[in-house]
């Protein structure tokens, strides 16, 4: 590791190239004639990649664990759905979904960011449930029976595929920018020690609100694309607590606070989900639970951390791991007397 100023790593150019190649490959996918089912799987994966990256900005980079991201996914989905039914252009409707989710995040963040650590996490569970119940009973959203979207024109799977790829690419780009910015530096400082960060001039409350809004917007966009694609949404789907935990699980499995981790986590989750749900419904929850425990015990850096460790082992280097998982490095910090 060189004494590189700032947070640029020597591998960032390689990572850039890999990301660009992956994007090109995914752009070409619908043209080479793979099955519709495979395209659908990729599409879902992109949506999860988006929410996973978004959650990672707040939960991984800033260290604020939220169990309430289904709220933003749902707000995005419902805003897009209602707008599309009202005759708005689908893409404008999806964008509106992102905006409404970001606005909602401010309303949620203003009270809940006064709380810390586990108390914040618990508050977000409460918010999630409250919003789900309200949405199940609202007249305008169609209540518990859900909302059917009016479809203008012929259904084109490729179009939805590209929309999902677009939001995933956007989430990736935004995450990359944030994590290499001065703002990202403040977010990481808040994760490590909020009070010490405030002592040297970081405004924790403002920073948390800002990153929450950013993450909510990306999640809302994913929700909007999902609503447009599936043409039917209901509160127990998009607003479900299980959706929140899924959004949280993916970056944790993949590796918190990194760029590749949430992407890997979402991909693994989507593929496992696909296989398990068909063959052993319910069993996949057991698998995630076991995976989560194993990761927390043995590799807090997630799959990305495991990969780094393996790569280092293969290269035969045994240097101390500077990038080992965040959770491993979080030590209890004592306050002054």
């Amino acid at each position: 590791m060189t004494a590189a100023p700032g947070s640029r790593t020597p591998t960032s150019r390689t990572a850039y190239a890999v990301a660009a190649l992956a994007l090109l490959a995914f752009l070409a996918v619908p043209l080479v004639g793979i099955t519709n089912n495979a395209i659908r799987l990729l599409l879902t994966t992109f949506l999860w990649v988006t929410t996973s990256l978004a959650w990672n900005l707040l939960g991984g980079v800033t260290g604020q664990v939220s169990f309430g991201f289904a709220v933003f996914y749902g707000l995005g989905a419902y805003t897009a759905g209602l707008s599309i039914n009202g005759g708005v252009n689908p893409y404008a409707a999806i964008a509106a979904g992102g905006a409404v989710a970001a606005f909602g995040s401010l309303l949620i963040g203003l009270p809940t960011f006064r709380l810390r650590g586990p108390y914040f996490a618990i508050a977000t569970i409460g918010v999630n449930e409250a919003v789900r119940i309200v949405m199940s009973n609202l007249e305008i959203t169609g209540g518990a029976s859900g909302l059917r979207l009016l479809q203008a024109g012929r259904f084109s799977q490729a179009e939805h595929y590209y929309a999902a790829l677009g939001v995933a690419a956007l989430a990736f780009l935004v995450s990359w920018r944030v994590m290499h910015s001065t703002f990202g530096l403040a977010l990481r400082a808040i994760r490590e020690d909020q009070d010490a960060a405030a002592d040297v001039g970081v405004h924790p409350f403002r920073c948390k609100l800002a990153v929450h809004a950013l993450a909510a917007c990306l999640t809302g966009l994913a929700g909007g694309v999902f609503a447009h694609y599936s043409a039917y949404i209901h509160p127990d789907g998009v607003f479900a607590f299980a959706t929140s935990t899924s959004i949280l699980l993916m970056p944790v499995i993949g590796g918190l606070g990194t760029l590749s981790g949430p992407v890997i986590g979402a991909a693994v989750y989507s593929i496992v989900q696909e296989e398990m749900v068909v063959n052993f419904p319910q069993f996949h929850l057991l698998l995630y639970g076991a995976l989560l425990i194993l990761i927390m015990l043995f590799e807090p850096g997630g799959l990305a951390g495991l990969w780094r460790r393996l790569a280092r082992r293969l290269r035969g280097r045994n240097a101390a791991d500077p990038g080992a998982g965040i959770a491993a490095q979080q030590q209890p910090t004592g306050g002054g007397s």
Partner: protein, 254 residues
């Protein structure tokens, strides 16, 4: 010399416990002002109120004729008041360089010019004896260097007043001497320093003036010589043993 910081009637209760009671003192520009006292005397509590980590129950803290009592720390630091912690609180998952960078980018009174940040950080790391450690994760530093990092991160905010909370605690005599010489150099460079310390020799050698706290109240204030001769301090805080003039530091009561 003018008063830079003046504290009047500062009081802080924790439930039924009065940690700091009706504290008055003034700090002059360019001095090292020591605060000593037994454990639990309220030193850190007083510090935390000045630094904005704690809101005073009653009382006023004036910095250059501006009332700052109750301001949050991220606001106080922009006036030029920055603290270090008794138990170092580095951002353990970030590199030493990044730790200092946070202070520089967010704590400064003005935005540093582009391109000069890396040089400034290097300069601070060198000053605090951390050059060569920049790329190391802060969590891997030994105690002595964690203390240095506390100082480096605070210095990055370009402070007018530096609040050092037991920055020599747990250090060996060589490390202590190094840190003390840094503090003197900072003072000579125009930074006013408030300094909490348990190590008597360190305090007596370094401070221009000293305030003694006991049970949250001020017991005495003066130059090191005056404090050493103060009957009240000797009796109430240091005990009756004839300890002055001894080479080794006083043992703290547990």
């Amino acid at each position: 010399m003018t008063d830079l910081l003046s504290v009047e009637g500062l009081t802080r209760h924790f439930g039924g416990i009065a940690a700091v009671v009706n504290l008055h003192f003034r700090v002059k520009e360019g001095e090292i002002f020591g605060i000593i006292g037994p454990n639990g005397a309220g030193k850190t509590t007083a510090f935390s109120m000045i630094a904005g980590s704690l809101v005073p129950t009653v009382g006023s803290i004036r910095f250059r004729d501006r009332e700052i009592g109750g301001w949050p720390s991220q606001r106080v630091v922009h006036l030029g008041i920055c603290r270090t912690h008794q138990i170092p609180r580095p951002f353990t998952g970030m590199t030493v360089y990044e730790n200092v960078e946070v202070g520089m980018r967010y704590g400064g009174r003005r935005t540093p010019p582009r391109g000069s940040i890396a040089d400034e950080i290097e300069r601070i790391l060198e000053f605090t004896g951390l050059s060569g450690w920049g790329a190391r994760p802060a969590g891997s530093l030994p105690t002595g260097n964690r203390k240095r990092l506390e100082l480096a991160r605070a210095l990055a905010t370009d402070p007018v007043v530096l609040l050092c909370d037991e920055i020599c605690g747990g250090l060996n005599p060589t490390e202590t001497a190094d840190i003390l010489s840094l503090l003197r150099r900072l003072r000579d460079g125009g930074i006013t320093i408030l300094y909490i310390e348990h190590d008597m020799r360190a305090v007596m050698r370094t401070c221009d003036r000293i305030m003694v706290l006991n049970y949250g109240e001020k017991l005495a204030e003066g130059t090191p010589e005056e404090i050493q001769d103060d009957e009240g301090v000797i009796e109430a805080y240091l005990g009756r043993r004839s300890w002055m003039g001894r080479a080794e530091p006083i043992e703290e009561r547990p």
